[in-house]
């Protein structure tokens, strides 16, 4: 069991992900002010309702316009402690930006993600420079301790809100690096691991303890946590890649999408074979689109997404698909994979069947990447945790408490895999519920119960 504080030093430098440049580079001061001034400052703005954490977006934007950088960042973090990463990874087109009233005028909507990134980065830089912290933990001894399982966005958000009110949160993470999918999965042209470590360090500095390399259910028993702590938060995300187990899968060249992305992002010894020419990605979700775009951006000439239904039915976002197609990613609709065909152990093609004509044919390729969703691993933590038929941990919708008293859960493990911002919202709400149950007041909750 190791306790971690200085995380950036853990990170090897020559990760493949560092070859990616920022798809949305940061705003300059001037760009930020021009964009902030464009905001209409709507009342009861639709962008706020579209944000799962309900950040008061017009207020933070107008604070950028007035030069109140610290106040603007505070407005963001109050609602969303992961405001730094969500600024960059949120599918804003589907959330706040998609709700901007300018869309109704066929006018470019306010670039909320860019503004949020600009101001959180600027405020955190100032915090480092001046030592004047945005949030100072309350100087009280509550005597309460909370164990959080998993160091992903859900646990990090939950732990931060607890620490600020004098509760001692301790996070247990099975991997060596904290951050959850923000570290291992989120597309490197959006957000890379070094920035993710900075965010985690920022959360830890408020009095959150982190133990990495500890798998609950294996190294430490879940029951032990329940006994030792006043509450437990389960933020374990969803599990490993689901696999098709097609005939011919055994052997090299068949990947689970998360497995491959993680190699790209975190493994300094990983590189793509020089003669890799053609990759088929099976799936229709955002993970399929992400991995396809990453391979294309790394120079693989033929990257095709193979999907069993049509483009309009796919769960992946259209804006992401368009983004990938700019790098040459193509898509084949209505085809179902049947088997992997090998020549002397080396992959030759993927045998598929057309959903429409019933025709069976081979698509030649060097690699097959399966992006068909993740499998639940909640049971591995403890059989005591009640899950639904999809493997999602069952919680009370108001308090995020599981069927187990004083055990809470949030993030992908309760929703089956949404976004970082949903995990941040869940973590916050669970923290508030714990505080309420102990009669501790969060500084972020006003007398009327609102944030």
């Amino acid at each position: 069991m190791t306790e971690k504080q200085e995380l950036s030093t853990l990170l090897p430098s020559d990760r493949l992900e560092t070859q990616f440049s920022d798809a949305k580079p940061p705003y300059t001061d001037l760009e930020a002010v021009i964009e902030a001034n464009r905001c209409l400052n709507c009342y009861d703005a639709p962008c706020i309702s579209a944000c799962p954490t309900g950040i008061d977006i017009p207020i933070f934007i107008k604070k950028i316009a007035s030069g109140n950088i610290r106040g603007s960042a505070t407005t963001i973090f109050e609602a969303n402690m992961l405001g730094s990463s969500t600024a960059r990874v949120c599918p804003v087109e589907e959330l706040c930006v998609g709700a901007c009233v300018f869309n109704e005028l066929n006018h470019k909507p306010i670039q909320i993600g860019f503004l949020q990134r600009y101001v959180t980065e600027k405020a955190l830089e100032a915090e480092v420079r001046t030592g004047n912290r945005l949030f100072v933990p309350a100087d009280v001894e509550t005597g309460k301790k909370v164990a959080l399982i998993g160091a992903g966005p859900a646990s990090l958000a939950c732990a931060a809100y607890l620490a600020l009110e004098g509760v001692s949160p301790v996070i247990y993470e099975k991997d060596e690096l904290p951050g959850g999918l923000n570290t291992t999965a989120v597309a490197p042209y959006k957000f890379q691991t070094d920035d993710c470590m900075k965010e985690v360090e920022w959360i830890l500095q408020h009095g959150v303890r982190l133990h990495t390399g500890v798998k609950i259910g294996k190294d430490v028993e879940f029951r032990q946590l329940v006994q030792e702590y006043d509450a437990v938060f389960i933020g374990i995300g969803f599990g490993k890649d689901g696999r098709l187990k097609l005939p011919g899968s055994d052997g090299s060249g068949v990947w689970g999408a998360l497995e491959l992305i993680r190699e790209i992002k975190n493994n300094p010894n990983f590189s793509l074979p020089v003669n890799l020419n053609s990759v088929l990605v099976i799936g229709g979700g955002n993970t399929a689109i992400d991995v396809a775009r990453e391979l294309a951006m790394l120079g693989i000439p033929n990257v095709n997404i193979v999907y069993r239904r049509t483009r309009s039915e796919m769960p992946g976002y259209q804006h992401e698909l368009e983004g990938a197609s700019k790098y040459g990613v193509r898509m084949m609709e209505n085809v179902v994979p049947i088997s992997i065909v090998r020549d002397g152990g080396v992959i030759r093609s993927l045998k598929v069947k057309s959903n429409q004509s019933g025709e069976v044919f081979e698509l030649s390729c060097d690699w097959v990447v399966e992006a068909i969703g993740q499998e639940s691993h909640a049971i591995a933590v403890s059989p005591d945790i009640a899950v639904d038929e999809m493997g999602r941990v069952i919680v009370d919708s108001g308090t995020y408490m599981t069927t187990h008293p004083n055990v809470y859960a949030g993030g992908d493990c309760i929703n089956g895999g949404k976004e970082v911002v949903n995990a941040a919202a869940d973590g916050r709400e669970a923290a508030f519920a714990m505080l309420r149950s102990w009669g501790i007041k969060s500084r972020f909750i006003k007398d009327d119960g609102k944030i």
């Binding site: 209409l40 709507c42 009342y43 009861d44 009233v101 109704e104």
Partner: protein
């Protein structure tokens, strides 16, 4: 093509757009470039006993990302030798005989006025403008606005100039007075051939938040300056119109203050100006802006079926009346076009907090308290169903609706609405006929 040429009390110019006295008309080379771009005339940077200027001298108000929506300066009159100025005036007139060159002057004693008037006219000036307006630096020396603020002194100095001047004389007024008619009438009584207004409005542009020095900063100090640019246009329009409708003002007016384009100029003409002068907009964008001013004015006059810019002068003046003459029975209410509404909620919050609580939404707490005998004490009663907006198709839940019975027709919601023509004010017809406050007073009702 309409006729844009004007004759302002004998000063002729091919179009009504003149450079105002200031940095853009500081020297001959500049004025010639301006004329090349199309400016009809220029009022030369004020001449007088040479002075020394300070650094810095300019400051600006930026508003929501718009630069220089207000502008201020602590600059004085010309800091170049008089001889050089007169030589250049002569050269400009020689090369551009069809343009109006008006020389702005500021002097102290009668003798000084005589000399500078004669030298200006010898150099070829088409007219003179007496600077009784500068609100800083010169007034402490008994010139500029210290003259403009004393109608008796203004009248006397004007009459001195009239003794010597062979060319038309414009008197430039300061807005830093209680009633612009006082200096206006004095200028006419003193014999002035025309009036120019406004000069700058006495101002303090702001404070630097890091140093707490006042701007524009000279070392660590500053002083009151003169405000101009788009922000002052409404102040100037009011003063121009006040002079234009007064029967005692029998001379033409040159309108100045915040003019940046042809639309601004149309407002000035409609309120009684014969020519217009521009300073800040040229300092911001350069002489080139005159191209659109000429072109836009031309197109506008054509569209309005007016043959000449002179047809426009004073056209809006009959509608400029005292408050007591306004029709108390005229009624309008706000209407929201649901198909245009984007749901920004600004009409709702502005009417709720800044007007009369008549815009409502379907979204939750309604603060309407109309119909209550104790109007204002019970602000949380749900608005009743009949006045709810009833969308015909689609989900229009985001569209606010207006309590028309309570709407006072103030315009606020229309002004804040970001979508053109989404909120309009519609007249409510009635059979009551016009009745003004003065009518009521006359009938002994109040």
């Amino acid at each position: 093509m309409a006729d844009l040429s004007i004759n302002m009390c004998g000063i002729k110019s091919p179009n009504p757009f003149w450079l105002a006295s200031g940095p853009p008309s500081n020297c001959g080379e500049q004025v010639m470039r301006a004329f090349e771009m199309g400016w009809g005339g220029a009022v030369w940077k004020t001449l007088g006993k040479p002075i020394v200027n300070v650094d810095s001298r300019l400051g600006a108000v930026d508003y929501s990302g718009t630069k220089m929506m207000g502008f201020n300066n602590i600059e004085l009159i010309t800091d170049r030798p008089l001889d050089a100025n007169f030589k250049e005036i002569y050269e400009v007139k020689r090369r551009y005989p069809d343009r109006a060159v008006v020389v702005s002057l500021m002097a102290e004693s009668k003798e000084e006025w005589r000399e500078i008037v004669q030298r200006s006219e010898d150099a070829g000036a088409d007219g003179l403008e007496l600077n009784f307006g500068c609100p800083h630096g010169m007034c402490e020396r008994g010139m500029g606005s210290s003259v403009g603020q004393e109608p008796v002194v203004l009248e006397k100095i004007t009459s001195w100039v009239m003794e010597y001047a062979q060319t038309p004389v414009l008197v430039k007024l300061t807005p830093n007075v209680t009633d612009i008619l006082d200096p206006g009438v004095a200028a006419v009584r003193g014999g002035g051939n025309g009036i120019s207004l406004i000069n700058t409005v006495k101002s303090l542009i702001g404070v630097d938040l890091d140093t707490l020095f006042i701007k524009p900063t000279v070392g660590a100090e500053s002083t009151s300056g003169g405000y101009c640019g788009p922000a002052v246009k409404p102040i100037a329009l009011n003063m121009v119109a006040t002079l234009a409708r007064d029967p005692r003002i029998t001379v033409p007016i040159s309108g100045i203050g915040g003019i940046s384009n042809w639309q601004d100029s149309v407002e000035y003409f409609a309120l009684g100006a014969t020519s217009v002068q521009v300073c800040t907009a040229v300092m911001h964008y350069g002489y080139r802006i005159v191209e659109d001013m000429i072109d836009g004015l031309n197109n506008y006059l054509d569209e309005m079926g007016m043959k000449s810019v002179n047809d426009l002068i004073g056209k809006a003046i009959p509608g400029f009346v005292e408050w007591g003459e306004l029709d108390l029975n005229y009624d309008i209410v706000a209407k929201i076009d649901a198909s245009k509404c984007i749901g920004c909620g600004l009409c709702y919050i502005s009417c709720l907090d800044g007007a009369h609580q008549c815009v409502h939404t379907n979204k939750g707490q309604c603060y309407a308290y109309h119909g209550e005998p104790d109007h204002g004490f019970n602000p949380r009663i749900e608005v009743s169903a009949p006045i709810r907006h009833q969308p015909k198709n689609g989900d229009l839940a985001h569209v606010p609706f207006i309590d028309e019975k309570e709407c006072v027709g103030c315009n606020l919601c229309m002004l804040v609405c970001p979508v053109p023509d989404c909120i309009t004010m519609e007249e409510i017809s009635h059979s009551k006929g016009k009745e003004s406050w003065n009518d009521r007073v006359a009938r002994g009702l109040v």
